[in-house]
């Protein structure tokens, strides 16, 4: 074998050897990365992601708005561990007082309602006392229902990395959603508070209360329409005449917005916008089409279709009265009483 060839062969093997060393011994080598990945994957599969449903029940029922969910720790002393031991959320569960949180929340909501009634029509001490008793009765009935559901989840831990655990979490979400709906309706028609309004307040007070609720609802609707139209203004380049015409038909079609809403009930801008588009979709298409140009209608027609399609979702959000506002319901009672 000649010298040049020998030299080249030696070179080649030394290169391969060096590369082998580099690939094999580099601190952040590819093999190491792959091994680390595999280990993390295995750990993620093996490491249970435990959620305490009891801890999560109250936080999701009372502290979150319609569509939002929070997963609080509590499965392992308030710490959630997943993906190979990495802490992704650390929150302590609520400390429980002697009374049911459902009862406390319902009482607080009822007290707020009485304050609002008082500022709308003025209440005597005797009237206030009667309404407080009605609230207490409604609150206890509500708390009993909620506590029955909560009891099913007390101390119940599920592994979110397991299909059975995920299934249970979905069932839990449906239960919480039902309880949220019940919470929204706690002082709706059929509640003792609303029934008591008809027998406790006089005609003048009821009229004042009705007026206050109507005014509040009208203002809320006015704000929703104004906001949605500002967006439509930008999208469609409406002129003053077109804007005013659409505003007029929308204001005239005020939907039965819930008089007593949680502050966050309308926090979702998509909900606000689609609510207005849903109502706009109820307007005769011919009338609407005559208001705008053909070019504008192509987009507006699509938007109203979108609003129409969102109806069932909007109704699920609980921002619309299921049946009758409390004051108008009470008016019905007082009419029946006078007959």
């Amino acid at each position: 074998m000649n010298t040049l060839s020998q030299h080249r062969k030696q070179c080649a093997w030394s290169v391969i050897a060096v590369v082998g060393c580099l690939v094999g011994q580099s601190p952040a080598s590819a093999d190491d990365e792959v091994l680390a990945d595999e280990t993390a994957e295995k750990q993620a599969i093996q490491q249970p992601h435990m959620i305490d449903l009891g801890v999560n029940f109250d936080s999701n029922l009372f502290e979150r708005s319609a569509n939002t969910w929070v997963i609080q720790g509590g499965g392992q002393g308030g710490v959630i561990r997943m993906n190979g031991g990495v802490i992704v959320a650390v929150q302590q569960g609520d400390s429980r007082g002697p009374e049911s949180p459902a009862l406390l929340k319902a009482r607080a909501a009822g007290q707020k309602r009485i304050e609002r009634i008082g500022s709308a029509c003025g209440l005597s001490d005797a009237q206030r006392k009667r309404l407080e008793l009605a609230v207490e009765s409604d609150a206890r009935r509500f708390a009993a229902e909620i506590d029955t559901t909560r009891a099913r989840y007390q101390g119940r831990q599920v592994n979110m990395n397991d299909p059975a655990g995920q299934k249970e979490w979905h069932a839990f979400q449906q239960d919480v959603q039902r309880c949220r709906e019940r919470l929204r309706q706690i002082f709706d028609s059929g509640s003792l508070l609303v029934t008591s309004l008809g027998t406790t307040l006089d005609e003048r007070q009821l009229a004042s209360l009705h007026e206050e609720q109507s005014s509040r609802r009208a203002y809320q609707w006015k704000a929703l329409v104004a906001e949605a139209l500002a967006k439509l203004d930008d999208t469609l380049a409406l002129n003053e005449e077109q804007h005013d015409a659409i505003e007029k038909v929308l204001v005239a079609r005020e939907p039965p917005l819930r008089a007593e809403m949680a502050p966050n009930a309308l926090a979702d801008s998509n909900l606000r916008r689609n609510l207005v588009l849903m109502v706009l979709a109820e307007v005769d298409a011919k009338e609407l089409r005559a208001t705008v140009s053909e070019r504008q209608w192509r987009t507006l027609g699509n938007l109203t279709s979108q609003g129409r399609a969102m109806r069932s979702w909007i109704e699920q959000q609980g921002v619309l009265e299921s049946s009758g506002a409390s004051a108008s319901e009470a008016k019905k009672h007082i009419r029946a009483r006078s007959r």
């Binding site: 000649n2 391969i16 792959v34 502050p263 966050n264 070019r295």
Partner: protein, 294 residues
């Protein structure tokens, strides 16, 4: 294991591959060249190979220990950044297209007697402004520039300039519609502010009326950002604390306490920079209006 094989290949550095390839090529060289094997040639070849190997090893080692972005020359980094801005600007042009379509529609409504010869230059000015606005947005988003920039105003400004060459009456017509729209937006923003406060603090009808009037009296055009709601802070709607001077005087004592708590926990000041004019919902007038090219 089969699943991991491609990933393993991807994670091996290009330099490591180059070294392996160089080694294999050298090993595969024909061996039967004994007649050329004079010492001088062998030494020269050995030196060349050693130099090449040394360079390859040096680069390979550098590549393994020094992050990619640190060994690139600054000029190359600048070129890459510029390329990214150009690509992002192209994407933003599509996002801003509805803004231009809307402005052109407003001009058409306000100046329907615009001569066909005047339309094309206006459309062209609008298209150029669209590109400039997209570029401006992309630069700010990619480089973190914090100066005020409203792409709508960029586009409107260019259209006004182009309309000015046609005639002042056209500018006046377009400007009138703009002013009316601005006034409508301000009204909508005021009502939105009052509705937010009402939702949180249970205002009376008289309070709603008084606050709305006070907001109109002390109105700041920047407050229209309330129409672009960024969501919740601490699970609360964002308090319009920027308008406190028009709100606070009309609140009862208990409401004032609740207002202060609300502002502390979820005041708009906690949001930092506002992206009001950056929010485009993507829906706009559909198709190109042939009137502009007729």
């Amino acid at each position: 294991m089969t699943m991991n094989a491609p990933r393993r290949m991807q994670t091996v550095s290009l330099w490591q591959l180059a070294l392996v390839t160089a080694g294999l090529l050298l090993a595969a060289m024909p061996l039967g060249r004994g007649e050329d094997a004079v010492d001088g040639q062998a030494k020269q070849a050995a030196k060349r190979d050693a130099d090449a190997l040394g360079w390859l090893l040096k680069q390979g080692l550098r590549q393994m220990v020094i992050p990619q972005n640190q060994i690139q020359a600054p000029v190359l980094v600048q070129q890459q950044n510029e390329q990214q801005i150009i690509q992002h600007a192209k994407h933003l042009e599509q996002t801003l297209e509805p803004v231009l379509a809307s402005e052109l529609e407003m001009i058409r409504q306000a100046c329907d007697d615009l001569a066909p010869t005047a339309r094309k230059p206006i459309l062209s000015a609008g298209r150029t402004a669209l590109k400039t606005a997209a570029r401006g947005m992309a630069e700010r988003q990619m480089t973190g520039r914090q100066d005020a920039f409203d792409p709508r105003l960029e586009i409107r400004g260019a259209l006004v300039k182009a309309l000015g060459t046609v005639g002042p009456e056209h500018v006046a017509g377009y400007q009138l519609e703009q002013d009316r729209r601005t006034a409508r937006q301000a009204r909508a923003a005021r009502v939105r502010i009052v509705a937010k406060v009402d939702g949180q603090l249970d205002l009376s009808a008289a309070q709603r009326e008084a606050i709305e009037a006070d907001l109109a009296k002390h109105w700041d055009a920047a407050w229209v950002h309330v129409l672009v709601d960024p969501g919740l802070i601490n699970n609360q709607t964002i308090a319009p604390d920027f308008a406190a001077a028009a709100i606070e005087p009309h609140l009862a004592a208990a409401q004032k306490t609740a207002w202060k708590d609300w502002c502390r926990d979820a005041g708009s000041k906690l949001m930092g920079r506002r992206f009001t004019s950056w929010n485009f919902d993507g829906q706009g007038l559909q198709g190109t209006d042939s009137w502009w090219t007729r």
